[in-house]
């Protein structure tokens, strides 16, 4: 191996390191050597030392306060251990997501197939699925696509949607289809993502801002679940309860 081989190999590193660094980004403000000289001249640096300590101490107090308040989605390792199952949650905050335009028509559907296993032995009063108690509304939809891109008619069922919601910003959107993968109106890279196994079923779970995303196959259906403002605990409980 020589230095050219090494330089060429550096050119083939993982893409994620290249978007992490905007090396070519134009700076609006450039620190000049003159500014550095001026700061040295007036010894502003010395004046900054106590200010820095105040900032650091304030930061420590602030972070401790936030932790005590148990907010969602802050400074947590993305592994949750509930029901003795470890969720490997892949963080999309660095890679991001791309929103896609999908050509579909969504209508309310009352009579859609039920994709989960039915526990016929369960007590009628027993809760089967573990859903957050404030998500009291369930709305069903059918997503149609066109048979031919030039046609105006949306006549092919792409997938069904079961939307479990509190009527506001908290919801679990369960998309499912028997014959194909449910449509997505977003895209993110699944390269190098970790897998979680729940009751023998492999799935990949992603997190972006206040949402979780996961896909898996179960009971003859392909699922694509997306949540909004649901905690890791709630999501974990729900997944474990449906993947029996």
């Amino acid at each position: 191996m020589n230095n050219k081989d090494l330089l060429k190999a550096i050119g083939e590193i993982d893409d994620k390191y290249l978007i992490e660094d905007n090396g070519i980004k134009e700076k609006n403000r450039i620190r000049t050597n003159n500014m550095v000289r001026i700061m040295k001249k007036f010894k502003i640096g010395y004046a900054l030392i106590p200010i820095c300590w105040v900032v650091v101490i304030s930061g420590i107090i602030f972070l401790n306060y936030k932790n005590d308040n148990n907010n969602l989605f802050e400074n947590k390792l993305y592994i949750a251990k509930e029901n003795n199952i470890t969720l490997n949650i892949n963080d999309l905050s660095k890679t991001g997501m791309t929103i896609l335009d999908t050509d579909t028509k969504t209508v309310s559907g009352f009579n859609i197939p039920y994709p989960f296993k039915v526990n016929e032995n369960a007590n009628q009063n027993e809760e089967f699925f573990i859903i957050p108690s404030d998500l009291t509304q369930i709305k069903n939809y059918i997503v149609y696509i066109k048979n031919d891109k030039d046609s105006n008619e949306y006549n092919i069922i792409a997938n069904y949607i079961m939307l479990i919601t509190n009527g506001n910003e908290r919801n679990i959107k369960v998309k499912y289809s028997k014959d194909q993968e449910p449509l997505r109106d977003y895209y993110f890279s699944e390269e190098d993502s970790k897998t979680t196994t729940i009751n023998g079923i492999d799935l990949k779970i992603y997190k972006y801002e206040k949402s979780f995303y996961t896909t898996f196959s179960y009971n003859g259906y392909n699922f694509d679940i997306e949540t909004s403002n649901i905690t890791e605990q709630e999501f974990s409980d729900y997944l474990v309860s449906i993947l029996r």
């Binding site: 550096i10 050119g11 893409d15 070519i24 791309t98």
Partner: protein, 184 residues
């Protein structure tokens, strides 16, 4: 325009794909090629070759990250073009970077056979161990081939500090490659 939309244009074989690519990443590619070739005309030609190669490769390719995909094509093309140059100036950033990277490999004259995939994997692992700031500086120097002055201005640190950071990273890389058995 979002990357996914641009990629869809390539797949639909619409020439607007090139226009949108140039609009979004033209400066980016130009900067990469100029850092290597140090010549305005050659770097423009390299960028045009990049668009042609991108047009010919998508489809069937469907890159996850368009910026990285195009950047890599530009870098490789510029590097190949540079190697064909008859006169290579001693003070070219690329030549200086190559001399620096000599520190990371064996000082033996014997060239050991190596596996490129293993080397790339090792580099990815090495980069994952660096802090984001140090990784940024390392890539600005050896991926983007920025000068020391440009790196120090971008990161708002002195040139001496930049050189020291790069020297330390090169030493770490040398140890890492040696322990990984990638050179003797």
């Amino acid at each position: 325009m979002e990357d996914e939309e641009i990629i869809n244009l390539y797949w639909k074989r619409q020439e607007k794909a090139i226009y949108e690519t140039d609009k979004k990443y033209g400066k980016y590619c130009k900067k990469i090629s100029f850092n290597i070739l140090q010549n305005e005309e050659e770097s423009k030609e390299c960028v045009n070759d990049t668009y042609l190669k991108t047009w010919n490769s998508i489809p069937p390719q469907r890159p996850n990250i368009l910026k990285a995909y195009i950047g890599k094509i530009t870098r490789n093309l510029a590097f190949n073009q540079y190697e064909k140059k008859k006169s290579k100036k001693r003070d070219y950033t690329l030549e200086i970077c190559l001399e620096e990277l000599n520190e990371c490999i064996s000082s033996n004259n014997v060239e050991k056979e190596f596996n490129n995939n293993e080397l790339v994997n090792a580099l990815n692992n090495f980069l994952s161990m660096l802090s984001q700031d140090k990784r940024k500086i390392f890539l600005e120097r050896y991926w983007y081939l920025y000068s020391i002055k440009e790196i120090s201005l971008k990161n708002e640190i002195s040139e001496n500090n930049t050189k020291t950071i790069l020297l330390r990273i090169r030493k770490q890389l040398k140890t890492y490659l040696k322990e990984g058995g990638l050179y003797e």
